[in-house]
Amino acid sequence: MAGLASTNERHTIGVVVDNEAGVLARVIGLFSGRGYNIDSLTVAEVDPANALSRITVVTTGTPQIIEQIKAQLERLVVVHRVNDLTTGGPHVERELALVKVVASGNRRVESLRIADIFRARVVDSTTKSFVFEVTGTSEKLNAFISLMEPLGLVELSRTGIVAIARGTTGL
């Protein structure tokens, strides 16, 4: 935006929405239609009794853009709450990855050793492969993945970030 440039910030935003058809399309359409970034997006039902889902979206933009994103989200008829976790105080962010490594000999042993350091669990194994489950911050997952790559990483699946505020209050 001309004349209003300032540095980009990364924000993690929790959005409580109606759990009904087309809601995700609405949110994603808002981001793509207005040219906002989506670094990560997760969604799942969190309150079946009231048919509510929670979307966690990680986005980057100038402070003005971040304000716009929140205002635009709030404007959607299906949105109940928008909560900027980044500005809302301390919060926890977690991501889960499933990492398939095909290796033998030393490399197979090394992959197990690294998994141990990262507290990754083996959730599937064959004589030639492991599937590791690793949870943590995205940085931790990145580190784990980059160590696994030379050892025979063949497939990767990540959940994207889920986040929640610390402390006693609920959204």
Binding site: A2, G22, R75
Partner: protein, 594 residues
């Protein structure tokens, strides 16, 4: 079910989906629906046929239905209703829905859909209507179960008219229209989450009053939000301007929000706004924006927009605040509600502006006004479009006409030369700039106001985009007047080509135009033509005398340009006042702007 039926006779009687629709529309206060039938909506048409409270207006193209509903909504403040079939019926409304979204017009559009068991099968006349219309509606629904139908319809009206108004689509599969289900009334439906903020924050209103009271060069900049809020908002805006004695400018969408003939009104602002309004924007020290959205047609170049001012922005839509222009004070709320509070606080505090400063400010404005920026060179052989509109205004103003427009030069001249003293009299496609808007919009206006004078100020190119609606006009005997400023060019395109593309008039000449007089006659209307300035008054007199639809073909100067003009990408003070000023894009960046 979210809205629970609360017993009584109505809830126990089962109706067909189609009957539920008719009943819900009537309970929502709709008296007219603009539509076009087809296979998927035949049950609904059957239900309409069997009653005589809800009136159906048969348009000739579904885009026409959408604009007619917009015209109806804008001239009455009520929700406009559209009914179309699935597939092509639905896709034909997309331009109208987008138009209504951009200009915040409350519309409920009912679309037929293939039966639920065929959805997703590429069935005949199937289109993913909710998918296609998601980005061009405020909200949309696909009703899969007749049990949800009444609730969804009531919600749709609520969403369309609440907060910042907009279009809502309800997609209804044919089996749902045929199935039987319960009816619940509007009182039994409460939306579960959508509650736009109406009342402004009291502390911010106090701060706004303090900021405004300290102004030396105050300015009110009011937009379509005032009109959408209702006549009370326009009245309060007028009160506040009178109490404070400050100058006020309106956006294209806001014309009529403040009396156009009042001396405190300094004209429309923006790309083709008045010199005094745009310079006042550039020079003011406190700006009070009520229901306007800092559109790029208004701000011009952002980094030099109204730099000397502190800005207060009242808007019902939080996302409008700080979207393009950062303001000092944003107040979320309904225009009328906030203005009412603002006036209370102003009066309670016995505020008074610095009268000496205000006098100096008015003196400055008077100097800008003296430039007489809307002047044009009169000609005694060729009709100047400005002259034709000036005469039209002078000769019709006593009848307080409703004016719709198409899009182009004629639209800007109409905005400049017509003065609206009341809201809801001016219907133009602002945000989307939709050629073909004015004629169907005039239908909606005339249906809502059968005895009023309704004029579509048109360009010869635009009017051809929905000319089929002349047939609708004939069928319902609507005395709509189509006043064409015929320059045989897509004049606005020609103007930009002259200024920015070396005078290479690529495809902007309107070759092979119809004979509009004969065209009128073939549509059972009266055709009139003027080619010389001294014929203009006679033509208008005749047009007004005839109590039937008229197409007036006014042959105007083919090369006239709209002034003043702030070229795209330029700042307000770089405004061009007339042909003697060289108009070129101010910057390379300006060249890419539209």
């Amino acid at each position: 079910m979210r809205g629970r039926a609360t017993g009584g006779m109505e809830a126990s009687v089962e109706l067909t989906g189609a009957e539920i629709i008719v009943k819900a529309l009537l309970d929502q206060g709709a008296d007219v629906v603009f539509g076009y039938p087809g296979g998927a909506v035949l049950p609904i048409y059957d239900a309409i046929f069997k009653q005589n409270q809800l009136r159906h207006i048969l348009v000739r193209h579904e885009q026409g239905a959408a604009h007619a509903a917009e015209g109806y909504a804008r001239s009455t403040g009520k929700v406009g209703v559209i009914l179309v079939t699935s597939g092509p019926g639905a896709t034909n409304t997309v331009t109208g829905l987008t138009d209504a979204l951009m200009d915040s017009i409350p519309i409920v559009c009912l679309t037929g859909q293939v039966p639920t068991h065929l959805i997703g099968n590429d069935a005949f006349q199937e289109a993913d209507t909710v998918g296609i219309t998601r980005p061009c509606t405020k909200h949309n629904y696909l009703v899969r179960d007749v049990k949800d139908l009444a609730r969804v319809l009531h919600e749709a009206f609520y969403v369309a008219r609440s907060g910042r108004p907009g279009p809502v689509v309800v997609d209804i599969p044919k089996d749902v229209a045929l199935a039987k289900g319960p009816y619940i009334g509007p009182a039994d439906v409460k939306h579960r989450s959508y509650r736009p903020q109406v009342k402004g924050d009291a502390a911010k209103i106090k701060a706004a009053v303090a900021m405004f009271a300290a102004a030396k060069r105050p300015l009110i900049y009011a937009g379509g939000g005032v009109i959408n809020s209702g006549p009370k908002a326009a009245k309060l805006l007028t009160d506040f301007a009178r109490v404070t004695g400050v100058p006020i400018t309106n956006t294209l969408m806001g014309l009529g929000a403040y009396p156009g003939t009042d001396p405190q009104f300094i004209g429309m602002l923006g790309m083709h706004g008045t010199y005094e309004a745009n310079l006042a924007m550039a020079e003011c020290d406190v700006m009070l924006n009520v229901g306007a959205r800092f559109d790029d047609r208004v701000t011009g170049r952002l980094d030099s927009f109204a730099k000397k001012s502190r800005k207060i922005h009242i808007d019902i839509d939080p996302s409008s605040i700080n979207k393009t222009v950062l303001v000092d004070l944003g107040i979320v709320g309904d225009a009328a509600t906030v203005l009412e509070d603002l006036i209370k606080v102003w009066k309670a505090g016995r505020h008074r502006l610095d009268q000496k400063a205000l006098k100096a400010w008015w003196k400055q404005i008077a100097q800008w006004r003296a430039r007489d920026c809307l002047r044009y060179r009169m000609d005694d052989k060729v009709i100047k479009p400005q002259y034709a509109l000036q005469r039209l205004y002078e000769m019709t103003k006593a009848r307080e006409p409703f004016i719709t427009t198409e899009v182009g030069q004629h639209q800007m001249w109409a905005a400049q030369f017509f003065k609206f003293n009341k809201p809801n009299r001016w219907m133009t496609s602002g945000g989307l700039g939709t050629m073909g808007y004015g004629l169907p919009a005039a239908i909606g206006v005339q249906i809502a106001h059968p005895d009023a004078l309704v004029i579509d100020v048109a360009g010869e190119a635009s009017v051809l985009m929905n000319i089929q609606e002349m047939s609708t006009i004939a069928q319902y005997r609507l005395p709509v007047k189509v006043f064409i400023l015929n320059n045989e060019y897509m004049g606005m395109v020609r103007q930009w080509q002259e200024f920015f593309h070396g005078g290479r008039y690529a495809e902007s000449y309107m070759d092979s135009l119809p004979d509009f007089v004969k065209l009128a006659e073939s549509f059972h209307a009266v055709g009139l033509r003027a080619t010389r300035p001294d014929e203009v008054d006679g033509l208008i007199e005749e047009m007004l005398r005839i109590n039937r639809p008229v197409i007036a073909d006014v042959m105007v100067d083919k090369t006239e340009n709209v002034f003043p003009m702030i070229p795209a990408g330029a700042a307000h003070y770089e405004m061009k006042l007339g042909p003697e000023d060289h108009v070129a894009p101010a910057t390379e960046d300006g060249m890419v702007l539209v």
